[in-house]
Amino acid sequence: MATGPSQVTVPAGSRPLPAAPRGTLHQREVGLGWLLLAPVLIVMLVLVVWPFMTAVWIAFTNKSIGREAEWIGLANFAQVVSSPRFGRALTNSLIFTVVAIALKFVLGMAMAMALNQAFFGRNFLRAYLLIPWVLPGFVAYMIWRWFLDPLQGVANYALTDLGLISFPLEFLSSPATALPSVIAAHVWRSFPFFGVAFLAGLQNIPSEQYEAAAVDGANGWQKFLYITLPGLRHVILVVLMLSTIWTFNAFEPIYLLTGGGPADATMVYTVLAYEMGIVNMRLGEASAVPVLILPVLGMFIVAVSGLMSRDD
């Protein structure tokens, strides 16, 4: 608790206190606090709030590249919502996110559980499994593109040489396999992040808990369910929140592998916004797309934050 100078007892005869600065100590502390916060706040305003508000404002204008913006109200939102492409893009974004997150969770957990055991070559394997995540996205997805290419790709060569197929498979060009192929490539690149985060969490769970459970006769599944998962709860929530945001906003895998085709089978909202904003130069319409998506992501973040704080 802050105490002002007036509360300090001064014995009689002692030298007088220097003149007190204006304002109470509390006020001065508050002032100092704001002063110290100011650089961060300014940076936040300039780099986060201002661009964000600008993007929202642009969504209400007819802004196109190289032209001044004019306020047109909700016209862009009406235009976007009435487009069947937006509905498809939103659906694909949700499928892409849900399936990819589920797979990344399972693979990441398996990776963490395996690497948490003591065995020869563990450190090598830990580094090895990180390679997909360390690779730049462009490189990773171009490798996949080449890998799945029907004319010159390794996958088709291998399947043909093994006599399993006589004609190349169109992994990225068939509407049935395009989205699963893109998801596979994305999961391959991203699951090590889950693995590393879960591994760090696993190493913080006291081994005594497992020993006590063993004494009580718990089997492996029960240990996982009642010790590992609760022990990783916070890590899981943070990783899920971050990865959901990143996956929902993913652009590289779709753009580089299929460009949103064939026939919008892999079109997601980020690629649609890119097409509207950068390719067609209509920034107003393009901004309306993420602004429409914003409440979905916002609600998700609030829900996850709520789960985290409830435990606290």
């Binding site: 002063l35 190289g66 004319l151 010159q152 026939a263 950068i278």
Partner: protein, 508 residues
Amino acid sequence: MRHDASSANERTSVRRSRRHFISMLGMVAALPLAAACQQASTPAPKAEPAKPAETKPAESKPAEAAKPAAPAAAAQPTTAPAKPAEAAKPAADAKPAAQQAPAAPASGTLVFWLYKTRLDPLDKHRTDRIMLWGQQAGVKTEVVEIGTSDYGKRVPAAIESKTLPDVLESGDEWVQLLQPRGLVSDLSDVFQKIDAEQKWAPAAKAVSTWPDGKQYMIPIGTSGNLLIARDDLLKEAGLTPPPQTWADLFEYAAKAQRPPRTYGLGQALSNTSDSNRFIDMYQAYGLRIADDQGKKATFGNHQKEAVEVTQMIADAYTNKKIFPPGVLTWDQTGDNDAFQSGRTIFAFNPLSIPAWVRDNKPEMLPGIGTYLIPEGPKMRVQGVSSVSMSVRADSPLRDKAKELLLFLYDKEYYKDFWPKSQYGPTTEAHYDNEAFSQSWLKVRVELAKNGKRIGWPDLQNEAYAEMQTSFVIPRMLQSVISDGKKPEEAFTVAAEEINTIYKKYEQG
């Protein structure tokens, strides 16, 4: 806890000094930040404009010009001072963010975005020429190579950040987007000088001249997609190239192919600009995207033609199987890669394929033929495009940039340019260049003489460009081929999209 007075005083004193110290630190940290923000929001005045001589736009000289110019520089043609009256006038309904300004003082570096081809010797030849001009003219010059697929990202970003280069070398579609925004200079004076000396080829003149009669770009070479054929494989199959009509093309492709080793037609059907080649086919069958003024979409009136062509292509894909697997998601390089690796018989390409073959697989070149695009029942749609140079409207080095353009149009230089390039002639003086006597380049002269402006019989404007960049026609085809939609249904969806696009521009 008890405190005695002296210790309290001392502690108060210590606390105050700490606080003051931290306050000072905070202020020290905040001040540069505030200063930086101030600098960012207020353009820093340039030191030079204070000099009266440099405030005269046309007469100003770059700082480097003070150095003695090389003798050759003096021999270079000079341009007339820029006249504000010649400033680009955007379309009446356009509201450009940047109007053409009088040329600012000529100082700094002249930035040239070079259209990077797949032909390294050509790019180097061109870069060397530009740098040579920089040395001779005493202008610091920087050449930045831009890959074709990067324009879509870099040009819009440069427009918004006002960092367009002084000279932009690009496909003409970019100039068509920049001009209505008032971002490129009127280059009619440069165009006329070249015309007086070398006489523009009809196709080059057609692509460079705007409806207002002015020229806002100087084409370095004419281009346009042509039909590339493996004549050797066609002859092996007992066929005589070239196929005259689209129907012939599909028949030839089906007969000559040997899948999975070779496929008939290596043409993208994906969301890439190569796929818009099929618009030519629709137009050759009588379909029109919009009216003659390019204002109102008329695509919806052509269901019969659209359905006929869509069925032909779908049949070629599904039954004749002339398209290689993967074309539904090919990128811009798909047709090149497939043809160059010997996997396809036909491709539509602006001759970068045979040019690459010439440099990398010369033994394959004699077996390759280049032809005009096949005709349809109504007409042959053979568009001509160009790679062109434009000058930024507010470039402080605008006059110098015009000098550079004339320097690059030197007749002697072009004699060496053509053998390295993939483009067609732009002036009549180029027709006789030895390069065009090669079998695979002869067609370029024909194209320069008779080709139509790209988009013809429609008018290529912003709405038409958005129809192309939204890949409406390729997506219509994809939905029939891969989703199994009926052509009529796919047509209805496409017609609605095209209507919506044209209405947006109709409303301004």
